[in-house]
Amino acid sequence: MDILNIENCTISYQGQKAAVDDVSLSIGEKEIVSIVGESGSGKTTLIRAILGILPPGGKVTDGKILFQGKNILELDERSLQKIRGTEIAMIFQDVGASLDPIRIVDSQYRESILVHRKMPKEECRGLEKKMLTKMHLTDPERVLGSYPFELSGGMKQRVGIAMSMTARPKLLLADEPTSALDVTIQAEVVREMKKLREQYQAAIILVTHNMGVASYISDKIGVMCQGKLVEFGKRDDVIFHPKHEYTRSLLAAVPRLEGKRFAK
């Protein structure tokens, strides 16, 4: 069964041309789907709409977003709030910016757990440690006692993933989660994300501009261009037999190690 169905979705920002134009796609349980495209193609707008967190002025003007058969767009803020963080979670490009700089990780992690359920402090800390260990953070005690600035970018990103997976969401939305990281750290985070599916039975939608990452991690890939989903299909089909001209040009533009060199 599909966990998420987006049907003919159109999103625009106050009177401007549609940022997302008549997009339909579906994501099955435990599926990893990547949305790729260049900046301004509407990929971030699309996944923000799923959580109902479009930037001011943004509105879904047409279509449906069905999560487990229920249209999210018809839910009021309170019911949405119940879904956010428990059923659908999100991680952002710069987790560091979404953490409070003047509170230690433990305190804000606990807050994010207690929003959803009651739990004694001790148990809370145990859960936090368990989650951080699962993300291969070697010294969870130290991480919990640290301020965000004391952690490296890769560590913060793993804290962010751990926090978002704590409530065992069925769907994880990831907006460029590795783009701000160095290549070696990126490799680690991508590896952790791939494991999430087995560990938590979660489906993942990954928004990225890195074709290599999308190609490695996804079951399906969607390609967006100027608000339109120009291609959507199985990873092998999109990568090896792209149908749309734009997908072909995008694939050809990715620099490769054994690829063409411009310099003589």
């Binding site: 290549v183 680690e188 590896r191 190609s215 620099p255 310099a263 003589k264």
Partner: protein, 318 residues
């Protein structure tokens, strides 16, 4: 094409920053040379000192120790007018084009500023010049009267490059010049840079974190780790001939578009240590699977293992 004239020589360059009572080694005994018409790529992860190195060579950041020669002239210690006049020889292009523009200055004014400053040309002459420059970087002439916010990232980067070459520098330094751009635009800018370097026979330092992209624009690549060059080799052979364990780790972390999904990604061990806590011996020792006792005690020197290929690792230089 490359000639065999040496343009830039960097000799034992160091940069330390005082942090509280400690010393941070940002750039540590770096030496290399660059020929006219050559593009040298510098890669490494954030904090490895590649930008500090570039800024020292450009004369923006003072050096702590060591020498930099451009056409045999040590310019680091220059002062006053002489320093100001020398500046035109080295120009930089930065990562974020929008933040290096004044938002209220038109493209035309921006482009002629350098010429008017160094050559004292008139506005009318400048305007003629600007048209030619825009053409050279593949932009329409009517951009003269545009404001920066009206241009896309790729177009702005072209303007930034046009300004850099407007005063005929001998060395062009690009610090992550394509980092903020989409892949298709990235390639266009890379091609433009290669074309300009070739045509004008200038030297180019191209700093980046995308190994594949840097390889595509440069003749040689220097890999930096914690302030040191650990490997220097010809770009063409990066994939096959890389030897240093760190270079291999970087190469292993790249996701190829046509990769095999079931292949495990090589697990990089740990994270780079803080540059404040550099221990004696090889900086990469604790993350290296080859590491021997000697590595923990001594710093491996950058030594030639074959013509045009230098490695700083005891594994190969013994």
């Amino acid at each position: 094409m490359q000639s065999n004239e040496i343009l830039l020589e960097v000799m034992d360059l160091n940069k330390t920053f005082p942090v509280k009572k400690e010393k941070l080694y940002a750039v540590n005994h770096v030496s290399f040379s660059l020929q006219k018409g050559e593009c040298l790529g510098i890669v490494g992860e954030s904090g490895c000192g590649k930008s500090t190195l570039a800024r020292m060579i450009a004369g923006i950041t003072p050096t702590s120790d060591g020498k930099v020669l451009l056409e045999g002239k040590d310019y680091i210690g220059l002062k006053g007018g002489e320093k100001r006049r020398f500046r035109r020889n080295i120009q930089m292009v930065f990562q974020d084009p929008l933040s290096s523009f004044s938002p209220r200055m038109k493209v035309g004014t921006y482009l002629m500023e350098a010429r008017r400053n160094f050559d004292g040309i008139s506005k009318a002459e400048g305007l003629k010049e600007v048209g030619r420059l825009l053409q050279e970087v593949g932009l329409p002439e009517e951009f003269v009267s545009r404001y920066p916010h009206e241009l896309s990232g790729g177009q702005l980067q072209r303007v930034a490059i046009a300004r850099a070459i407007s005063i005929q520098p001998k060395l062009l330094i690009c610090d992550e010049a394509t980092g903020a751009l989409d892949v298709s635009i990235q390639n266009q800018i890379a091609q433009l840079l290669v074309k300009l370097v070739e045509e004008k026979n200038i030297g180019c330092l191209f700093i980046g974190h995308d190994l594949a992209l840097v390889r595509s624009v440069s003749q040689r690549i220097a890999v930096m780790y914690l302030g040191r060059i650990v490997e220097l080799l010809e770009s063409e052979t990066l994939g096959e001939k890389a030897m240093h364990p760190y270079t291999k780790m970087l190469l292993g972390s790249i996701f190829d578009v046509y990769c095999d999904q079931n292949e495990e990604i090589a697990a990089p061990k740990g994270e780079p240590p803080s540059p404040l806590k550099i221990r004696k011996g090889c900086a990469f020792a604790e993350r290296c699977s080859w590491c021997s006792e000697k590595c923990k005690e001594n710093v491996p020197p950058l030594q030639e293992v074959e013509p045009g290929h230098k490695v700083a690792c005891f594994q190969f230089t013994e």
